[in-house]
């Protein structure tokens, strides 16, 4: 029935992160963090704003800088949502 009305239930996952908070804790600048993980500073800016989802490699590198697991830095916010198709 849901299919007929063009509505599908799916798991919506949004990615949030604690990078800004962790940077402040460890007193690391955006430029320094970018240098440590091998990306440009703009990438860190967009990551912190939540405008860019990192690759698994980058997420792992960032988490490693803060000596934390990926899920402690990047929070997967799950919510059951309806979407029109």
């Amino acid at each position: 029935m849901e299919y007929l009305f063009g509505i599908t239930r799916h798991l919506e996952i949004s990615l949030k992160n604690r990078m800004k908070e962790l940077r402040a804790r460890d007193n690391i600048t955006q430029a320094k963090l970018a240098n440590l993980v091998g990306v440009r500073r703009e990438t860190i800016v967009f990551l912190e704003k939540g405008k860019y989802n990192p690759s698994l490699n980058l997420a792992y590198s960032v988490a490693k800088v803060f000596n934390l697991a990926i899920e402690e830095v990047f929070i997967f916010d799950q919510s059951d949502a309806e979407q029109d198709i």
Partner: protein, 135 residues
């Protein structure tokens, strides 16, 4: 020299575009001061962009910043995709209004320059907005 490969390539492409535009402006009404003025501004703009790019790259090399990372690569990919999509519309419009062009060279020139411009705007948009969060 190896580190500046990309900059040199971009510079060469830019030089060709600038030289082409310069010749085009000179060819059409060579006596018109406005056209010569526009041509000089175009050359200066091209030179400024090239020099600025070299300076930025030099600073990046000094600071150990990569010229490209996954964000810029993704921006290029999305910009290419969007530019292709909009270029189709541009070429369709050129096809519809082909009779209003004086010669085929002008029509092709506008199409190619328009496509390049659309790609430039798309790249600028994605690099500054980062607007490609996948749902």
């Amino acid at each position: 020299m190896k580190n500046y490969k990309k900059e040199i390539m971009v510079g060469l492409v830019f030089a060709i575009i600038v030289a082409g535009l310069f010749l085009w402006f000179i060819k059409h009404e060579p006596d018109a001061y406005l056209n010569i003025g526009i041509a000089i501004i175009t050359v200066l703009l091209g030179a400024y962009t090239f020099v600025r790019q070299i300076i930025t790259r030099k600073r990046d090399l000094r600071d150990g910043v990569p010229s490209e990372d996954e964000f810029t690569k993704r921006a290029k990919l999305y910009a290419g995709n969007r530019a292709f999509f909009f270029s189709m519309y541009l070429w369709f419009l050129i096809y519809l209004f082909h009779s209003s062009f004086s010669d085929p060279e002008e029509m092709l020139g506008i199409g190619i320059m328009g496509s390049a411009l659309i790609y430039g705007i798309s790249l600028w948009y994605y690099k500054t907005s980062g607007d490609f969060i996948e749902e």
